[in-house]
């Protein structure tokens, strides 16, 4: 990605800027398949940055909710701070032209795209989920309390949230879903082993903030 960026900057600053740019696709119309958390967010950002957006979803409710979200975001576009930094995933079937065009498209959305191979969890989840589970295991071993682990990581490492706060925020069902998928693919990796406290909370429908209880209690 850094290389692509430099290449692009060079192209734009050279006399052949026009021809170099012509080789790429200018994205104007965006079709988003699936209006869940990510899809709706992408549609919002694309709409707010002047792209024509078509959002496709099987469920009418989701479409109506996403449409409302997009309209609201367009109204407060000047103030809006968009979450989620895009990763442009390059698979063996992605052409360099498509890849570079998507990098440009991400930039046009005001984002800082990063590049990653098509690997489980890409960058952030691949590093974040095992760290969260290591924190759970530290707690399960009885080495420290949830509260003290959260405090230590916030004050000692400067993290915006402690691991247990983040787990409850992300959703324990979501975290377990990711972990179980990785465990199925790579059963011997100790980073991907199930956690007894996570399994217990999910079995009790305590998914975190959204259900009022997870590792902590809310409301």
């Amino acid at each position: 990605m850094a290389f692509v960026t430099r290449q692009f900057v060079r192209a734009m600053s050279s006399s052949s800027a026009a021809s170099a740019a012509a080789k790429k696709i200018m994205v104007k119309h965006v079709t988003v398949i699936g209006g869940g958390l990510m899809g709706a967010g992408i549609a919002q950002v694309a709409a707010a940055t002047g792209h024509t957006v078509v959002l496709v979803d099987q469920t009418e409710d989701i479409l109506a909710k996403s449409r409302k979200g997009i309209e609201e975001s367009l109204r407060r576009v000047a103030k809006k701070k968009f979450a989620e930094n895009p990763k442009v995933i390059k698979t063996p079937m992605t052409s360099q032209k498509t890849f570079e065009s998507l990098i440009d498209f991400s930039r046009s959305l005001g984002k800082h795209p990063v590049s990653c191979k098509d690997t489980p969890g890409f960058i952030v989840n691949r590093l974040l989920v095992p760290y969260l589970l290591e924190a759970v295991r530290l707690y399960e071993r009885g080495d420290a309390s949830k509260e003290d682990i959260d405090t230590a990581m916030k004050l000692g490492a400067g993290y915006p949230m402690g691991p247990f706060e983040l787990l409850d925020y992300v959703g324990l069902d979501t975290t377990k879903f990711i972990l179980d998928g990785w465990h199925e693919m790579d059963a011997k990796n100790p980073l991907f082993q199930p956690s007894s406290s996570l399994d217990k909370l999910v079995a009790e429908n305590k998914f975190g903030k959204k259900t009022g209880e997870g590792y902590y209690k809310y409301k």
Copy 2:
């Protein structure tokens, strides 16, 4: 720790506050053994919060440097923002009285103490070092560049530094020293396996920021 805190608050707000407080040791004089990064920092904070401090070290140079640091910190005490949140480590030989007194002492230094059993890396290093090494392995597998991993963790996870920036800041020699120690204690744990890029950089005396080069180049 959270329990101890609540106990303490209850004691202080009850009518038996004086007798409860009398059971604990009020720390007024502090002796710090070793004037390295941590010892000098503890001595500075203790001096700045009105404690009598004796700093013990074998090396004259370190003592002189620490003394200078303490004097400087006393001069700008109002402005000083102290780093490093204390963990009061409770070993099987630590009495409850000593433990509670140290918790109070930490609070008197303006800190938020957390409690942890005497386990390798305690809380922050036990979670941080394996995460840093997982980032290194992600990079070594060629899944993403150092730069993109750093960007993703800063923008995607809200971390103050990316893993490679942090490794260079902490020092690659220090990180390797910690990792090798853990690997020796628990050779089968894949979290503690050596990293080829880390070993190579340390062998070349590229320890990070302090030597001008680590995963990145400085100056």
